[in-house]
Amino acid sequence: MAATCPALEATNLARGYGDRWAVSGINLRLATGRSLLLAGPNGSGKTTLLRLLATTLQPNEGRLQVLGKNPTDDAMAARRPIALLTHRTQLYNELTALENLEVSARLLGLKPDKQRSTALLERVGLSGRGQHRARTFSAGMRKRLAFARILLQDPQIVLLDEPYGQLDPSGFGFVDKLVEELRRQGKTLVLSTHLLDRAAPTLDSGLILKGGRMAWVGPARDLPAAYAHETHP
């Protein structure tokens, strides 16, 4: 059964703020284990679309199914397999890195496991920082910690909103490696970025948003060329 229903399926999804549509007419079918590169100029609705897919934002129109489940029927069941990395790192500044991970673990119903958390911190390049408060971290370090939290959740669907943002060049390599690893583990992936040449080779499919609407779809490797065409016709 699982093979027949896509990991993410959106039909005519639309969401507005005030008097304008942030995204509209989104049709998307992403099979389990496949990946999508999301591109578009600033304000084209990438973040809104990712939040819609993560079920934290309610669509005004259209329908979304996550692994065959409708989020409006059972929000908790639909949300469980999804993780979203946003611009904001959503950390508690006054808690240490390890404590931030522990909070997530408890809410996910996992037993707080210091060894596992420490290993995760090592994996994202924050070894030895476990006892430091998140407030003292630089923007890049916060991002790494947010990644550790996603790895802790171990979701089937990973949504990454600008994962390269605020990272240094060594961080770029870290994200590349992580994306590759997630792909190898068979995770479904949606990634939005402006660094098209960097992300395009490793992903399957591409989508360009313009003004909240789908402007181009095709294989990810063709996306950089198409993007140049779309933005400077």
Binding site: G18, G25, R29, L30, R34, N60, G206
Partner: protein, 240 residues
Amino acid sequence: MKRAFDKEHIIGVIGLLMLAYGCWKALFVVPAMNHFGEVGRIFFMHVPTAWNALLILTGSFILAIGALFNRKPSWDAALTGSVEVGVLYTALLVVQGSIWARPTFGIWWTWDPRLITAAILLIAFAGVLSARSFANNQGQRLRWTAVATIVAYIDVPIVYFIVKWLPRGIHQPHSFPSTVSTDYHLALRFNAIAMLLLGIWMTFRRARWILQQNAATAMSAAPGAALDAEGRTMVAGVEE
């Protein structure tokens, strides 16, 4: 441009006529009461206001539960209209009660279950309207109004209950001359129904205004799905 006649005006006109009749009875036909004298005529305005304030706010409570689940802008508009009319009636109620208390008890204000409840009712629902004006978008405005209305409404019996319960009230239960006439009942009932009809009329008009405002700033219909060069609906992603 000619506009269709809004049907709620019928309710409004009937309400106005009934109010005129009820007030005529109350002011000129009903005899002065043995204890209260002419001041007793205040009752024919005050009691219907109290009934209707509660009735309309009960309507708001029902609308709020409905709006929270169906999320329809029309329900939000009706909810806001009814809360506003409820606040108007409650404000009138408090002022009327205060004026009534001056000649009969010699005071403007006192610790009394009915007075305190009315005042809290007024402040709580005025707060609902105020919260509404702070909301960031239409969806949030609907949810905030509905949630605040539900909580405020549940608070009302609790306030009445706790104030009544504390034995500090000096309020005397009112009773009326047992020789009440038909005119007495006519005046009271006509005024009550008239105020209900007027309340419904005002709620409808206010809701219409809100919907009209929404229409001015509303989103156009969502653009449909984009089409590709061959005219097929675009679908992103990979299907197996």
